[in-house]
Amino acid sequence: MVKEAIPPISAQASSADQPKPGVHPSGNLAVKCIKCKELLYGRDWEKNLKVCPRCNYHFKLTAQERIDLLADPGSFVEIDADIISVDPLHFVSRSEVYADKLEEKRQDTGMNEAVVVGHITIEGLPLALAVMDFRFMGGSMGSVVGEKITDVIEFGIERRIPVLISSVSGGARMQEGLYSLMQMAKTSAALAKLGEAKIPYFSLITDPTTGGVTASFAMLGDITLAEPGALVSFTGPRVIEQFMHIKLPEGVVNSEFALQHGMIDAVVHRRELRHTLAKLLHLYSHNGNM
């Protein structure tokens, strides 16, 4: 019998990406890195912030894990926890019933949607934040993701505190049609208002960030950070390959590619993230006030 000693990993959308636990002959819980196949021992892997120590692959974090990584302990206050999707198009097609899928995901993940928003402090400095979660329908952006992100940006404007959005997304949510596309404009407009209020916005890009999320708030940071080796692109490798009739080598459109081509400010290892954000919060403050 395999006992789970590592933190709960959602069985659903991320199961293809998360390592599968097994028992090492020595008795320690072991997981296998999906990129380099290295055996990672449960507790070490956790201590290493779910980053493979051999190949440096940064595994996906849940929204809660990301918040715990960044926030001063106990500082997180959630807002909009009760917002849920309502299937605006009554999307039913080829046995894909959006309403059922939503319910399924809510049950699986214990989350209401693909983003958690609220505010934290980092080394005592306040920060409004939105953290996306890939387990909920691949982090796809529909009405609720757009609404919650817009709300938290407006919260930042109101309280005059900087905003961080941690992105992970397969793109816009097909099942909400044009409502999803418009969330790109809605969130970008809120960021433009934040900018006019002279409040900084930090974008954090994690693996994978694609489509309508990349082509809106993810690429609008006053500072744009990315985790190492994250897929970050407009369409994605498969679309590029199909369009150009070529085969791309593994991992071409990633954080390092984006940095090299002038699209982001820095690639930051997960263990440096909290410290980096603290530094930025200090740098971007006018003697403690915004």
């Binding site: 894909e96 409502y179 404009a185 809605k186 809120a190 990349t214 082509a215 692109s233 407009f234 369409t235």
Partner: protein, 319 residues
């Protein structure tokens, strides 16, 4: 009239019958004359019926019709003195975006458009209307000029999407689109966007964050091409028609959902039947909305645009 779309087959057959009768000319017998009249009426009614109730997929076919007017056609028909501007002042000149000042009924507006291209040479020149980052950056430059000088912006939207190739990634396609969304949302002049054919996802949105969003009656606007949606949802591009229906991409459905401000009527059977009439309808709609928007003080204009997009989205709350 040519009825060349698959759902127009019954119309094509009726028309064959009509032509056969018409060829008789003077030699038509009285009962044949009646037949001809009836057939012509029948054709009219059937065309109206079909075009009043086009499915999303059928609308897409009309929106993609090879003879449908493109931006260059509308500019020629409704504007005077259009002067095309070129270049993004950074990398190059994207021919998929056609932009510059023009006179619309005597006042200056800045046109920002996708241009697809009619024959093979044109299509290649305009990259089939698939804009590169430098195209969006050219449009940003021109919109900022319009704002600086106090002229309204009119965007004619017609693209199956932004160019997705690797060089586009290198030049920052996502950032180019995002920047336009940011810019347009606070642009201090009226902006009207009219979808004249295909509103293809982010590539279309990048020039349609506007005070008014119009759509030609048989145009479409979608978060992803139906083929791409089919591939994403079902790992197979073959179910585009189902995806189109489920996503409700037609102008008529989007108006019913209140996602767009107004539908511009097309001639019976689609814009490709009568470029002049379609252009006249478009011009009238543009002038009407321009006149309304010009009345608004700038701060009110900006706040209305903000609230317009703010209100888009459907959600509930857990009780």
């Amino acid at each position: 009239m040519v009825y060349d779309l698959e759902f127009e087959k019954p119309l094509a057959e009726l028309e064959k019958k009509i032509h056969a009768l018409q060829r008789k000319g003077e030699h038509l017998k009285p009962d044949e004359r009646i037949q001809l009249l009836r057939a012509e009426q029948d054709l009219q009614h059937r065309t109206e019926e079909i075009y009043k109730t086009l499915t999303a997929w059928q609308t897409l076919l009309v929106a993609r019709h090879k003879d449908r007017p493109y931006a260059a056609d509308y500019i020629r028909l409704i504007c005077d003195d259009f002067f095309e501007l070129h270049g993004d002042r950074s990398f190059g000149d994207d021919h998929a975006i056609m932009t510059g000042p023009a006179k619309l009924d005597g006042t200056t507006v800045f046109m920002v458009c996708h241009q697809k291209g009619r024959d093979m040479k044109e299509k290649q020149y305009h990259n089939y209307g698939l804009a590169h980052p430098e195209g969006y950056r050219k449009s940003a430059r021109v919109m900022q000029q319009a704002e600086k000088l106090g002229f309204p912006v009119i965007c004619l939207v017609d693209t199956s999407g932004a160019s997705p190739a690797l060089p586009d990634e290198e030049r920052g396609q996502a950032e180019a689109v995002a920047y336009n969304l940011y810019l347009m949302s606070r642009l201090r002049v009226p902006i009207i966007a009219a979808v004249i054919g295909e509103g293809g996802s982010g590539g279309a949105l990048a020039i349609s964050v506007a005070d008014r969003i119009l759509m030609l009656e048989h145009s479409i606007y979608t978060v992803a091409s139906p083929e791409a949606a089919s591939s994403i949802l079902w790992r197979d591009r073959a179910f585009g028609a189902q995806a189109a229906e489920a996503m409700r991409i037609s102008a008529r459905e989007l108006k019913a959902l209140d996602l767009v401000d107004e539908l511009v009527p097309e001639p019976l059977g689609g814009a490709h039947r009568d470029h002049q009439l379609t252009a006249a309808n478009l011009k009238a709609a543009l002038l009407k909305h321009l006149a309304e928007l010009k009345q608004l003080p700038v701060d009110e204009l900006l706040e209305q645009l903000y609230q317009k997009f703010r209100a888009i989205g459907k959600f509930g709350r857990v009780s």
